[in-house]
Structure formats: structure tokens, C-alpha cells
């Protein structure tokens, strides 16, 4: 497998072309926006933190490359039902994969990002949605504000 095919694995292409959880869930009560100024990627994550302290609903908006869009989509599928600590742990798992380029034994969709390791300039594309989601979790509980100038 070439580096290129390894970067754009089927899982990543599938999520990039058919992103899950796109848009703002109507019940969302917090949001954050992140961007990569050098490449113009931007990502807004809307979520609802339930009374049990777990992510009850989550969605994302924004634009970016296939890696960032797939990462946002996969992040949202992983985040549902997780506590902030569990989401942070999952992000740690992704960062290990990006840093090592190794596919862990306990296969899940995050392993698809192992190929990004060979493209250091793209690592921040994969991490942007996760940083943004963790930032959203830190926001106070309130109706999410629509972010000006944001286009989906």
C-alpha cells in the first residue's frame, strides 16, 4: 500500500464523502469553533451534555479537507454517550496513532488515521475536530450561539 492509499483509507473516504452528524442538533447547549489559519480549515462542534454528564447529542459544521471532515465525522460517532474524560482518553488514543503511525490491536475507526503519520502537515487536520469538541465541553451550559460567518 502506498503512503497515499494509506492516508485515504476507505473508512476516511467514506466519512469524508458521507459525513455523519453534520449540522447543529436542536438540543445542543454548548458549542465551540476552531480553525487552522494556515490552511483555512474550520470546524464548529455543537453538543448537548446530558444530566448524566455524558454527550447526549453532537454535530459539526465547517469546511476542510477529507482528513478533517472524516475526523470530525468519526469523532462525533465516538463521542455519543461518552463523558468528557472518556472523550479526552479517546483523543489521546488518536494522538498515539498519529504519533506512531501504528495500527493498534483493538481496531476501531480511529486506526484509519495511522496513515496520516506519514504526512506531518496533515496531523493538525485530524486533530482539529477533537480539540474543538473538548473546547465545547468546557463551555458553560447555555443555548449554543450561532457562529457568525460560519458556512456548512
Amino acid at each position: 500500500m502506498s503512503d497515499f492509499d494509506d492516508l485515504y483509507r476507505d473508512v476516511i473516504l467514506d466519512h469524508a464523502k458521507r459525513p455523519r452528524n453534520r449540522g447543529r442538533p436542536p438540543t445542543a447547549n454548548r458549542a465551540a469553533t476552531g480553525d487552522n489559519p494556515t490552511c483555512g480549515d474550520n470546524c464548529t462542534v455543537h453538543l448537548r451534555l446530558g444530566d448524566d454528564g455524558r454527550v447526549a447529542a453532537i454535530g459539526f459544521e465547517g469546511s476542510g479537507c477529507a482528513i478533517s471532515q472524516a475526523s470530525a465525522s468519526i469523532m462525533t460517532t465516538q463521542a455519543k454517550g461518552k463523558s468528557p474524560a472518556e472523550l479526552e482518553a479517546a483523543f489521546g488514543h488518536l494522538k498515539d496513532i498519529l504519533a506512531s503511525g501504528k495500527t493498534p490491536a483493538d481496531f476501531d475507526e480511529l486506526s484509519a488515521f495511522a496513515g496520516v503519520h506519514a504526512f506531518p502537515a496533515r496531523v493538525k487536520c485530524a486533530t482539529l475536530p477533537w480539540h474543538t469538541a473538548l473546547e465545547a465541553l468546557k463551555q458553560p451550559d447555555q443555548p449554543a450561539q450561532m457562529v457568525e460567518g460560519q458556512k456548512s
Binding site: K17, C39, G40
Partner: protein
Amino acid sequence: MSADFSAARADFPALHQTVHRKPLIYLDNAATTHKPRVVIDALTRFYERDNSNVHRGLHALSMRATDSYEAARARAAAFLNAADPAEIIFTRGTTESVNLVAQSWCAQNLRPGDVVLATEMEHHSNLVPWQVAARRAGARLRFVPIAGDDAEHGLDLDALDRLLTPQVKLFAFTHISNTLGTINPAAELCARARKVGALTVVDAAQSAGHEPLDVRAMGCDFLAFSGHKMAGPTGIGVLYGRRALLDALDPWQTGGGIVANVTYEGATWKPSPERHEAGTPNIADAVALHAAMDYLDALGRPALAAHDHALAAQATAALADIPGLRIIGPRPGSPRAGLVSFALTDAHAHDVVTFADQDGIALRGGHHCNQPLMRKLGLPSTVRASFYLYNTEADITALATSLRRIQKFFGG
């Protein structure tokens, strides 16, 4: 007719390599061009033989270094058809040249209520310095709009007439847009500005290595360019300014080399160009830039321009056929500098650049230091292919083939 520069490819060592086991096709020339052997040799020769400081030493090497440095200045004056070598200030590049005017001229001359006029297609380097200078002076910054949904009509010249009021003290504009490929009518813009008494600053970063330049025919007051975008080294550039303006400007950086007489209490300045080049200048790169200007003029700048325009026309024609590809800037058949920016419906610019790189093709993807323009066009980013004398029609065919495969790969 396009001149054939295929023999000149042999002059550029870096072109002859493989990338991902494919022959390199370098289409990122608007970012920086490659350097011919003569330029690399001039740089090495200076350090191996003439290396010394300028303007102060009385020994043989210092005199050789001074002669070489001043010869480079005279060459730059001739390259621009400037009246006097003293009108050439060596800087780090276009950005520093613009900053010199923005900080020095604006600090001395810009007053509250004055207007600095720029255009909507400026590179950040010809935009942010004016924002800062205008804010400091309490002046306003206004913009000549671009016309057309894809900026295909260039600057709105009707709007320019309305915007050029007597309050406009300075009009800064790019000669060639690094994102759109638009060639602005520089002489006409300077003439219109002069009618209201506004000075003009021309960003020639994208034109200096590509088009013949004549500052007197253009009628500009200041003009800036970088060596590395015209076959020269990084770290060296030029600010041209009319002699009377430069001699009336206070230095923007002070120290050694610029002073006539110094006491513990104060100092007086040498005339231009020394007063604007504090400290030891970038001697070696100025000498190598001299070699680059000689190289370009030996090939002939009118022929280089024709070659660029022909490649741009071939590229717009080849890319216009690709489904889902939107070309930004001048329509096919309109004048266009040697670059094409575009967006694909199914692939983000960064995915395109990564994919093309696998085919050995070097492109640029992003906002090209043009964020406000991108926002206006409703695009997060574009892909840019930019050409130079060593590019060929075969490079464009390879680009089009790669782009079709990219659309297919990311499509559906």
C-alpha cells in the same frame, strides 16, 4: 507565439529530481521559483572569493565586495529603467519593501482623515502594513472592489474614479494578483492616482520576474519586488522609490551605515540609498540577484511574458473541460499572468495538493495569503498552479490528467 525555453530547463539543477518516484513537475512558482546554476554559482563565488563587508573597508576584498554590491544596485536600476541607482533600496523582499514605505512614509505624511487606498485583491503583505499604518495615523483604508462572481473582470475601474478623492494620499496595488492571475493596468492606475495627488506603491512580486518593467513608463512612485520569485535567492528584494521621495524620508531602521555625522546627542542621515539600509546589508544575495537579472534579460523578458501567457491560456483551456472545476480570475481569452487558481467540487484544495504530489506535481493549496479575497469569493481555499520559463505544455497535460483522477477519486 510562445518562445521555447526547454533548453533552459538544463540550467536549473533542482528541476532534475524525482518526487515519489515520479519526475518533478514544479508548478508552485508564484510561491518561489527555482534558481539557475549561474545564480547559485554567483552566491558561492562571492563567499569563496570576495566575502567582506561593504562601504567601510579600504582593503582589496572590501573594495571588491562594495563594487559587486553597488553593481547589483545599478543592475536593479537598469532592470526597472529607474533614473538613478540611488532609487534602489535593497530589502529582504517585497514584504519588507512595503513595510518600509508603510512605516516611514506614512509616519511622516499620513494625517487623521487621510485615506490609503488598496484593492480587494491584495496579498496580505500589501494589506496588513497599510492597516497598521492607517490605524496609527487615524487615517482610513479603502478598497477598490473586484468585479465578477469569480473576479473575472479584474478591478472595478468605475469604482476607482469614485474612490480616488483628494483625501487619498497613497494608492497601493498589486501589478499581478498572486491568486487570480489578473494583470492590472499599472500605468493607468498610476496616472489616475496622480491626478488627485496620491502617491502609488506597486507590488511587483508576481511581475518582476515575468513581465518587462519600466518604472518611468509606469509612472509609479514606489515599487517592490522579491528576488526569490524571479530566479534569484531568498532574503533579498528591492524597493524602488523616486529619488526625491527617498531623500525626504527618515530612515525606518537606524544604526550604522546610514549616518553622516553622529554625536552622543544625535545623528544626521546620509542620502538615499544608504540611509535606508541600516546595518550590514545582504551583500551576497544582492550579488546573486544581479546574476538572476542578467539571466532573465539574456532570455528576454518580453519572450518570458509571452511564454507565461501562452501556458496560462493552455492551462485554462485544459482545465475548463474538467467537470466540477471552477476557475477563478480572468476568463479564457482574457489576459492572464502565468498562474491559474481553481476549486474542485468534490475535493478540498489540500487533498488535491497531496494527491498531485504523489504524481510528482508541486501545487499550492490554501488561501494564498489572501483571506479577505477568498471570503469574498465564497471559497475556503483554492488550488493554484503557477508557471515559469521552464514549464511546458506537457506539464499542463500531466496536471489535467492528475486532476481528472482526483475528481474521480474523491467524487461520488
